[in-house]
């Protein structure tokens, strides 16, 4: 956390909830519970598909009512780590309703916003209450554009090993 570069690219929030860890886990993994708290005030979550297992995908729709009518924003991602009642990590990208990832810059988002971010939730059972540490970080290494770089670097390291 002391690393300023890291903190620029992530936000960490710690909370203790007066609820058992099992229930807090459901808040993140049960679509109905998740929809109840996740959207901003005045927004609804009409779609929350969550295949909560490593490699499983998620698709969330957030609907906000603007003066021009309802506007929907879609988010897709993949579960990376699932340890029941302890650890949940998933990626998140802005997408369309089919889960196709859209570039933040195409949506008029400012430069510097990563295509893919990761949300990491760690839970700790405090004898009836639950300590939660949530980290939201940018993962440039996982962005579609970075895949090419990773492959290029892999090829390069293979070549270097051969020589």
């Amino acid at each position: 956390m002391a690393d300023s570069h890291l903190s620029q690219n992530s936000v960490t929030i710690e909370r203790t909830f007066n609820a058992p860890v099992k229930l807090v886990w459901q808040m993140w993994t049960d679509p109905d519970h998740f929809a109840a708290w996740y959207g901003p005030t005045g927004a609804t979550i009409p779609v929350a598909k969550m295949d909560v297992r490593v490699g499983g995908s998620r698709l969330i729709c957030m609907q906000v009512t603007t003066p021009d009518g309802p506007t929907q924003m879609w988010f897709t991602g993949e579960y990376r780590e699932v340890v029941e009642h302890q650890l949940l990590a998933y990626t998140e990208s802005i997408s369309n309703e089919n889960g196709d990832i859209l570039a933040p810059s195409d949506l008029g988002m400012p430069p510097g916003h990563p295509v893919t971010t990761e949300i990491r939730v760690e839970l700790e059972d405090l004898d009836g209450s639950t300590r939660m540490v949530m980290t939201h970080l940018g993962v440039p290494a996982d962005s579609p554009g970075a895949v090419g770089w990773t492959m290029a670097l892999d090829k390069l390291s293979t070549l270097l090993e051969e020589h």
Binding site: S7, Q8, N9, S10, V11, I13, R15, F17, N18, A19, L23, V24, M27, H33, A36, W37, Y38, P40, T41, G108, P110, P111, G112, H113, P114, M134, H136, L137, G138
Partner: protein, 127 residues
């Protein structure tokens, strides 16, 4: 000593941030910033790549000035434009923009958990 004008409220910060976002949400203005990233330029030089009138370009530059992204020389007659990356750094820290969003979410989660549990208690007593 009271100086109301010097008071900085979070709203002022938010306003400045919205100005920055608004200024960036336009391809012509982003192209102007990209040009200025290579160094100072005059309005004529900035206008050259675009099929826009000088007044139109000046309007874009004024929007960038309001957002604090562009400064203009005072002395030279042609008043060259220069990039000020300060507000960009603020915007680039996207993660911090999410902090209030998450805090608000977790406030709601807290309330929701209370609701759920008091409902359970009631049901428990009745059953």
């Amino acid at each position: 000593m009271e100086s109301i004008g010097a008071v900085t409220t979070p709203t002022d910060d938010e306003d400045r941030l919205s100005e920055t976002f608004a200024a960036l949400a336009n391809p012509t203005r982003r192209a102007i910033l990209a040009h200025l990233a290579h160094g100072e330029a005059t309005v004529n030089e900035l206008a050259a790549p675009f099929q826009l009138t000088l007044p139109a370009i000046s309007k874009h530059i004024k929007a960038l000035e309001r957002a604090g992204l562009v400064t203009r020389g005072q002395l030279a007659q042609y008043r060259p434009c220069a990039l000020d990356a300060g507000p960009l750094a603020e915007v680039a820290s996207w993660a911090e923009q999410y902090r209030p969003v998450w805090e608000a979410r977790f406030d709601r989660l807290d309330d929701y958990l209370d609701q759920l549990q008091s409902r359970r208690e009631t049901e428990g007593r009745n059953g």
